[in-house]
């Protein structure tokens, strides 16, 4: 009973927030609605017993990703209304049919494969965080490390792309060059 009430409430809230995100013409409304939707999605993880995932969802999505988006939006002109695409009707129709077939496949998949076997069954007598740690650091250790390297690469790429004067290397330059560069900067600033 309680679970059903929570499910329908958060389903309604999530759907309405994401609908606002894809339909509004204001970029700031879209950003805030997306952040709210992310937090409401973490409620589903808590209902499903995946407590650690719910915390990760709030920390990573509403914390890191949304902060990154809001920093990125400082570069863009967000006060202007977002223009909509008036695309080819045939392409939109084809993509919609494809999406409908995909949705049927997604819903039918677990029902068809009803003889599914648990590969890493839930460990009895352990909390969710403990279970996640046990599986993540034994069976999925290599993908975990690869994901860490991927995040490092993404961080370096983000810094290099968005930073200023990233085509210069201070360690490869002489002292005089750095001095002259500093003097030029002071002239520009003053």
């Amino acid at each position: 009973m309680f679970e059903a009430v929570a499910f329908y409430l958060f389903a309604f809230l999530t759907i309405s927030m994401f609908w606002i995100t894809v339909t509004t013409s204001q970029a700031l409304y879209a950003l805030t609605a997306l952040a709210a939707g992310m937090i409401f999605i973490s409620a589903f993880f808590f209902i499903l017993g995946a407590d650690f995932l719910g915390a990760i969802q709030i920390v990573v999505y509403s914390g890191a990703v949304m902060a990154l988006y809001s920093f990125g939006m400082m570069f863009f002109d967000t006060t202007r209304d977002v223009k909509e695409k008036q695309g080819n009707k045939a392409i939109i129709l084809g993509l919609s049919v494809l999406a409908a077939i995909l949705i049927v496949a997604i819903v039918a998949g677990p029902i068809v494969s009803d003889n599914i076997q648990a590969l890493y069954p839930v460990i009895e007598g352990a909390g969710n965080t403990q279970q996640v740690g046990l599986v993540l650091f034994t069976k999925y250790l290599v993908p975990f490390e690869v994901a860490a390297v991927m995040l490092l690469v993404a961080m370096v790429a983000g810094i290099v792309l968005a930073g200023k004067k990233m085509d210069l290397s201070l360690t490869l330059m002489d002292e005089e060059e750095i001095q002259s560069m500093d003097n030029q900067d002071k002239k520009v600033l003053s």
Binding site: A4, A50, V60, G87, I106, L119, Q131, V135, A154
Partner: protein, 102 residues
């Protein structure tokens, strides 16, 4: 109706996925396309967590972790590229990116 099963979560996930697809199809601004991509990834995360719960298997939760990691790095690199493009061309509409120039 009152008993929440796996199908409820799958239907919710497909509704959110459809909303994300609507966003991808009708948006022109690249930042809004990124938002729609986040919605797509989140809808898949819900179905992974639901299947993990109802089949008593932890693999779904592991996949949600890796999807979240991929989403975070996608945002970092994508926003960096977007900032560079905005500095160069002063807009981030898709129409200006239809052809590749050096």
């Amino acid at each position: 109706m009152m008993e929440i099963g796996l199908n409820h979560y799958l239907v919710l996930s497909t509704i959110l996925f459809a909303i994300g697809l609507v966003g991808v199809m009708r948006r022109k601004n690249l930042l809004m396309l990124f938002f729609a991509t986040e919605i797509l990834l989140n809808s898949v995360n819900i179905s992974f967590a639901a299947i993990s719960h109802f089949y008593g298997d932890l693999t779904g939760q592991m996949f949600v972790f890796f999807v979240i990691a991929i989403a975070a790095s996608e945002v970092a690199v994508g926003l960096g590229l977007l900032v560079v493009w905005h500095k160069k061309h002063n807009n981030i509409d898709l129409d200006t990116m239809t052809s590749m120039r050096g």
